[in-house]
């Protein structure tokens, strides 16, 4: 489920995915899954599954990237990486490389 912030709720889901600020082009995907890097600034999505293992996965889970949780993409750093996300009431930064290992659920 991907939705816009209430203030910008007129933007469609398609526009949201294509808003290019930090997003990565979609054609690199082979399996049609969407990942956290596909989410544009100000957009929200839900975590579906982790593709990482071990320490990285544990760290992401500890910081609240738990399946089913809603995540909002807040911003990216000046050079486009890392990304800052909002999970409920706190903020977490992670690199694109890790964000790319988090599958998100589609609407």
């Amino acid at each position: 489920m991907i939705s816009r912030q209430p203030s910008r709720n007129r933007t469609t889901l398609r526009e949201c995915l294509e808003c290019p600020t930090c997003a990565k082009p979609l054609e690199s995907r082979h399996d049609g899954c969407r990942f956290l890097t596909d989410v544009a600034n100000g957009c929200r999505c839900r975590i579906r599954r982790h593709r990482s293992q071990g320490a990285i996965r544990q760290r992401l889970l500890d910081l609240g990237f738990v399946p089913g949780v809603e995540v909002e993409m807040v911003r990216c750093a000046t050079l486009g990486d890392p990304l800052e996300m909002r999970l409920g009431d706190y903020y977490v930064t992670l690199r694109k490389r890790e964000a790319d290992l988090i599958e998100i659920a589609e609407g």
Binding site: L61, G68, A77, D89, Y91, V92, T93, L94
Partner: protein, 767 residues
């Protein structure tokens, strides 16, 4: 019950950024010390306080998000809890991010500890419109919950009472200690129960840990839990096989791994609890922190603010801080003069060893202590950056840059402590690398931090900058740090692509803390702690090195015939003086050892007159000298023609003596061990513009970087007895030698890329 039973030990645990250390400070006050956990270099902060029933020892555990065995902090915390079994655990939790904080609380409760929750920063949560009902939370979890604002010392008494209630050993409090709270793992409950049953076969195991916790950990695939089973269980293999089978089956059936499932169960329960005890007053409002970040972390403006911050730190600490040294120098000069007064009087040409060695030590230490105010300001500013939360933003902005060189956003703090902002120390910098989860980046950071401009390099920089680049201090310092960063980055890149390329890497996943107003005490405490560790280093390493350097600079000493030559010269000067004064009324006074006494007295008198700031003090000096040396005083301050003539002759003699002493000093160093090496290197270093004096300073700074300035201070001694600063002395000599800013720059660059000091070399090898 015995009185000792009332003394208790409690662990203080919590996630990072929950304000754990402020709670620790609030509970224990100044009564803290730092110990070590066995085998690791993480500091174990232990503090204590007394309440009406006895002593309470508080152990500040490293901040960690969870109790897995992936990171060092988590392992240390877990080992402490399992092995030392504290009487209770205080769980510090950030009221403003309660949901995630509860993950950790659940794990503590599963381990079976009596837990007191310090619901910290309730004021922040309230201001964000998300106040937490502490009583409701306590009811839901079955533990004591104390709302605190540790920064303002609110909740201290209540927290202490709660601790005593739960761990005091009283009959009725045992009820509170037995939290019956259980997280419902739903579909995993059956396998958990089965594993728990299998584990219960081992009686030792059930004494060591809570079995349900262990069962959950095993299903999470935790490596250390497996070794616990192997260690204590009589038949570990069937149990572990059963765990693996259960995890496999679960994953196949539910299409989600047990790790994810356990995490989402905890998250679900946490969300339920938060829903029942937290009222969100204004949903959808944007936090103040986020509003600030919209400006400070704005994609285009962020680098600008970063550069501005760095520049401000230079300006305040180095430029303004340097002005403070004008205030501290007279105090240090006074110390030197006092020490000089206590020591045996100087000889005509040659001083006793005790005098020259002691003064050498005082000079060495003084040169460094002179910069203490500067470091104090610098460390305070860094503490403000850390406490306010901007440090994490710097990591965020710079991570991409660091990553291209194989480093990590969290390398920022080690580099800053190491001295990017000019002035740090490689040792705390290296210690701070423990926060970097990525092994390759951590090693690369450890190996490049010594390139930073540590405290010990700063005195030399400040010295040279103040002599040669007075007009552009900030810019030159900025240039120095830029060039060192560039060099460090190149080295880091080389290391990570070559010898470190096989090392494990880890993610940059970091919580962005909310902005907080730093507290005065917190900032001061950290600034003073770090400055103190610097002073301790001065007191140990530098003093030890200074003695070695002294020996290497003074021995083997002057060759016999040169010594005789100088003695003869001095005799000639003394005889000339006696000739000139033979006819005067004072001739009787001016015989043998009295001449030396007079010389030393007149030097002391001149110094005292110089030190006297105003007319009154000057008169006081006169009175004092007249009282103590009534016989010789007329010669110091001549009132009649004869005395004036003697005084003139005396001054000539003093000049001759000073010239001879300088010549001796220089010749001694030329003939010394270091001088020999320094001069031997001169044909090579000449191309960089280093003369042998600089060579000697550089050689001695191998042992400790601090020694370079101390050695220079001793080498450029002309005028040291007049208490003028080393800057002036070096500028005076440099001017005659034709040294230019270019020479200074070459020296600065060489020093920037110089091998690390002994302490920084020894330290990482202990890891």
């Amino acid at each position: 019950m015995a009185t000792t039973a009332r003394d208790i030990t409690i662990g203080l645990a919590g996630q990072q950024n929950a304000g754990k250390s402020t709670v620790f400070n609030m509970l224990t006050g100044a009564n803290q010390h730092i110990a070590n956990y066995p085998g690791v270099t993480i500091d174990k902060k232990v503090g204590s306080y007394r309440d009406e029933r006895g002593r309470v020892e508080v152990v500040d555990l490293p901040g960690c998000y969870s109790l897995t065995s992936y990171s060092l902090e988590e392992r240390v915390t877990r080992d402490f809890l399992l092995r030392e079994k504290p009487d209770a655990v205080i769980n510090v939790i950030d009221a403003a991010s309660l949901r995630r904080g509860l993950y950790f609380t659940f794990q503590l409760l599963e381990m079976g500890f009596p837990v007191v929750m310090a619901l910290n920063m309730v004021d922040v949560a309230e201001s964000q419109g998300r106040s937490v009902d502490a009583d409701q939370l306590a009811r839901l979890l079955g533990i004591a919950v104390v709302p605190t604002v540790a920064r303002k010392k609110r909740g201290k008494g209540a927290l202490r009472r709660a601790i005593r209630n739960i761990a005091g050993g009283d009959g009725f409090s045992a009820i509170a200690a037995e939290s019956t709270y259980r997280i419902d793992y739903d579909a995993l409950e059956t396998p958990i129960a089965a594993i728990e049953g299998a584990l219960a076969d081992s009686k030792t195991l059930s004494r060591v840990v809570a079995l349900r916790w262990l069962a959950v950990k095993l299903l999470e695939g935790d490596a250390e839990s497996r070794s616990l089973v192997r260690q204590y269980h009589a038949h570990p293999d069937p149990v572990l096989d059963a765990v693996d089978a259960a995890a496999r089956d679960f994953e196949a059936f539910h299409a989600i791994s047990t790790v994810d499932y356990i995490a989402s169960c905890r998250d679900r329960v946490a969300a339920e609890i938060v829903g029942r005890c937290q009222q969100v007053a204004r949903p959808g409002t944007v936090h103040l922190s986020e509003k600030i970040d919209r400006v400070l972390l704005h994609r285009g403006l962020a680098p600008l603010f970063l550069v501005l911050t760095v520049y401000l730190i230079y300006e305040i600490s180095i430029v303004q801080g340097y002005k403070l040294t004008f205030l501290t120098w007279p105090a240090l000069a006074w110390v030197r003069a006092t020490v000089a007064g206590l020591l045996p009087d100087p000889g005509l040409l040659h001083d006793t060893l005790i005098r020259s060695l002691s003064l050498w030590m005082v000079d060495s230490v003084n040169t460094l202590l002179n910069y203490v105010p500067l470091f104090l300001i610098l460390f305070a500013l860094i503490a403000i950056l850390e406490d306010s939360g901007y440090m994490a933003r710097i990591a965020f902005i710079l991570d991409r840059v660091f990553r291209s060189f194989g480093l990590h956003g969290q390398s920022t703090l080690p580099f800053i402590l190491g001295g990017v902002f000019t002035g740090g120390c490689a040792v705390p910098g290296i210690m701070a690398t423990k926060g970097i989860p990525d092994e390759r980046s951590r090693l690369a950071t450890i190996l490049t931090v010594p390139y930073m401009n540590c405290l010990a390099k700063i005195p030399l920089y400040t010295l040279l900058v103040n002599i040669y680049f007075t007009a552009h201090k900030s810019y030159v310092m900025l240039f120095i740090s830029t060039i060192t960063i560039i060099m460090a980055m190149i080295v880091a890149k080389l290391l990570t692509t070559t010898i470190l390329s096989g090392r494990e890497t880890a993610p940059f996943v970091m919580e962005m803390p909310s902005y907080h107003m730093p507290t005065l005490t917190g900032v001061l405490r950290r600034a003073i702690d770090r400055t103190w560790s610097y002073i301790k280093k001065v007191g140990t390493v530098v003093v030890a090195v200074a003695i070695c350097v002294y020996v290497l600079l003074q021995y083997p000493g002057l060759p016999g015939e040169r010594r005789d030559h100088y003695d003869a010269e001095m005799d000639r000067a003394v005889t000339a003086f006696q000739e000139q004064t033979r006819e005067s009324d004072y001739a009787a006074l001016l015989q043998g050892p009295r001449i030396l006494e007079l010389l030393n007295l007149s030097a002391a008198y001149r110094e005292a007159k110089l030190a006297a700031g105003n007319q009154e003090a000057s008169t006081a000096v006169d009175v004092r000298f007249e009282e103590r040396h009534s016989e010789l005083f007329p010669l110091l301050r001549p009132r009649d023609a004869e005395a004036r003539a003697v005084n003139r002759a005396l001054r000539n003699l003093a000049t001759d003596r000073a010239t001879l002493r300088t010549q001796i000093r220089e010749e001694t160093i030329v003939h010394s061990y270091f001088g020999t090496i320094g001069r031997a290197l001169e044909p090579v270093t000449r191309f960089a513009g280093f003369d042998w004096k600089i060579n000697v300073a550089l050689i001695s700074s191998f042992a400790a970087r601090e020694s370079s300035v101390a050695t220079l201070g001793a080498l450029f001694q002309e005028g040291a007895d007049e208490n003028i600063t080393l800057e002036e002395r070096m500028a005076r000599e440099g001017g005659t030698d034709g040294r230019t800013p270019l020479h200074a720059l070459a020296l600065i660059l060489f020093f920037a890329l110089y091998p690390p000091c002994l302490a920084a070399t020894i330290f990482p090898s202990a890891w």
